[in-house]
């Protein structure tokens, strides 16, 4: 597994652990009669599990298994994929923190914009690798 995939997948596992913990708190709170800021925790729970865990895992595995090139760097322009990793995680943390702390809506929006840029960067990296194996 290449280094960037290790980073993507391990970061995804961290979000899985944190996202499940938030989910457990949200589910158990009524049973324990705990008063929690559910409206603030729910967006972070969704952010961590959908983007931080699932999307990130998919990107990490895609970087690992998409067809490689015979000539030049075998995975093409890796620096764009690294940029995608950084932007995605800035986006997830910004959007989740914005929701949990209760920052103005602009903050989560900036987070989602960073996630959009991450998706664009990854597409730019992966586009030429979506080809016949060995071509």
């Amino acid at each position: 597994m290449p280094k960037l995939s290790v980073w993507f997948v391990r970061t995804a596992l961290v979000y899985l652990a944190v996202g499940f913990a938030l989910g457990a708190v949200l589910l158990a709170a009524p049973g324990l009669q705990l008063r929690i800021p559910a409206a603030r925790l729910l967006p972070a729970h969704i952010e961590f599990l959908l983007t931080g865990w699932m999307v990130q895992l998919a990107l990490g595995v895609a970087f690992w298994i998409l067809p490689r090139f015979r000539v030049g760097p075998e995975r093409g322009r890796e620096e764009i994929a690294w940029a995608s990793y950084v932007l995605l995680n800035i986006g997830v943390v910004t959007a989740a923190a914005g929701a949990i702390i209760g920052l103005p809506a602009l903050v989560p929006s900036i987070g989602h914009a960073a996630q959009g840029l991450a998706a664009g960067a990854f597409a730019l990296h992966a586009w030429p690798r979506i080809k016949v194996f060995g071509a």
Binding site: M1, P2, K3, V6, V9, R10, L13, V14, L16, A17, G19, F20, A21, G23, A24, V25, L27, A28, P30, G31, L32, Q33, L49, L50, W53, M54, L57
Partner: protein, 136 residues
């Protein structure tokens, strides 16, 4: 394909089926006539996202990620099985407890057990998978 992967994937497919059948009941025309169906909405989402998607990922990752070692290619099998059992028990309990609670029944303890079981399932998976995610 390892035995545990087959259990994960087959269970995932059953959850997909259950979630899609439930989605029929969640159509607006039914919800308007039977308001209690709104209480099932979060359960539907979790059957789809945890029961189907996450469980499918767990099974495929267990199968295809780099091997832990020659002696224990898939890490600690007990952790893998614990993850499978806890996830499915937790999700099944949730499917009962969450709508019941929304409808006013006293099922607080069941909610807590479901939450803890799912949490431990996720953590067991992370613990078992982490050492297999490495450069070759």
């Amino acid at each position: 394909m390892p035995t545990l992967t087959r259990w994960f994937i087959k269970s995932a497919m059953l959850y997909l089926l259950a979630a899609l059948l439930l989605s029929i009941a969640l159509q607006p025309q039914f919800r308007d006539e039977l308001p209690f169906l709104a209480a099932v909405w979060p359960t539907y989402l979790h059957l789809l996202v945890i029961g189907w998607l996450t469980q499918l990922i767990f099974g495929v990752a267990l199968w295809l990620f780099p091997k832990h070692s020659a002696a224990r290619p898939r890490g600690d099998e007990r952790l893998g099985w614990a993850s499978f059992v806890l996830l499915n028990v937790g999700l099944a309990l949730r499917a009962i407890a969450e709508p019941s609670h929304a409808l006013g029944h006293r099922v607080g303890a069941l909610l807590v057990v479901a939450a803890v079981a799912q949490l431990l399932a996720g953590w067991a998976f992370v613990l078992n998978t982490w050492p297999r995610v490495r450069e070759r």
